[in-house]
């Protein structure tokens, strides 16, 4: 074990800005991608449901 206390762990031997700056941004980027993918899937399905509904309406008015 490298650390004797939480504050020592968070201080990262004086390199807190660099180490936590790296890990925090990586985490934000990856979580951002996951959220973007979930929203994209919802958006695609929503758009397609509307698209099919509109197409069905067109068919009905033509008939």
């Amino acid at each position: 074990m490298n650390w004797h206390s939480w504050s020592e762990f968070l201080a990262m031997g004086g390199y807190a800005l660099y180490v936590w700056g790296s890990y925090a941004v990586t985490l934000i980027v990856l979580i951002g991608e996951i959220v973007a993918l979930i929203m994209r899937r919802r958006g695609v399905i929503e758009r397609l449901v509307k698209f099919y509904a509109a197409r069905r309406r067109n068919h009905e008015t033509e008939a």
Binding site: M1, N2, W3, F9, M12, G13, G14, Y15, L17, Y18, V19, G21, S22, Y23, V25, T26, V29, L30, E33, I34, L37, R40, R41, V44, I45, L48, V49, F51, Y52, A53, R56
Partner: protein, 250 residues
Amino acid sequence: MSKSPRFSWFVFSSPQTFYPLAGTLQPWFAGLACVLCAAGLYISFLVAPTDAQQGESYRIIFIHVPAAWMSMFLYLVMGFWSGVGLVLNTRLSSMVATALAPTGALFTFIALWTGALWGKPTWGTWWVWDARLTSELILLFLYIGFMALQAAIDDQRRADKAGAVLALVGVVNIPIIYFSVQWWSTLHQGASVSMKSAPSMAATMLLGMLIMALGFWMYSIAAVLARVRCVILERERHTEWVMAEVGGPA
């Protein structure tokens, strides 16, 4: 000779077959990514010792090197599927290439960002225009160029072809990045892991890095599978099966 139906891998080149397969596999890769990254972080922070020269700042290596590896590897995979799509005209190959680009670009960004944050305490500067850093920046521009080019062309087949040509030409940048530390004098240190020599780091450091790399790899597969499913739905929207998949009879 009897014509018995034989299994063929081309079965999976059909978007209709691949879509549910990707949906089944995706959670497994996502789960593996979580487990591997948790184990990797545990080793990175709690097991791996403090570096004699760099102190704790070296712990950036556990995301920097795996992210840099993924940025290059994903580009090679993107180039491969672009080439397959160009030659065989298989729609799914082009869709996979399209789905790979954003994840590759993000890992390139992470490699550059963590590199800057590591460069400051060790070299005294966030950035230098040396071969390794500049070629990795060009990789980011190649990913962005690929995405922008595809987005700018309305005709999907033309967009795929133009993107594929750009991706294939850009592959030349990958060996340049990889060998840049040997070909030019640079601030950047040499390869962390080499086939020829023993690793230049403690075993637990190496283990943490490799497990994080595996975790990023599994994450990339999960993200790309999720994205390719979106791309398939968008591009195949005129087919019966997508209509059935999204819901409701015609």
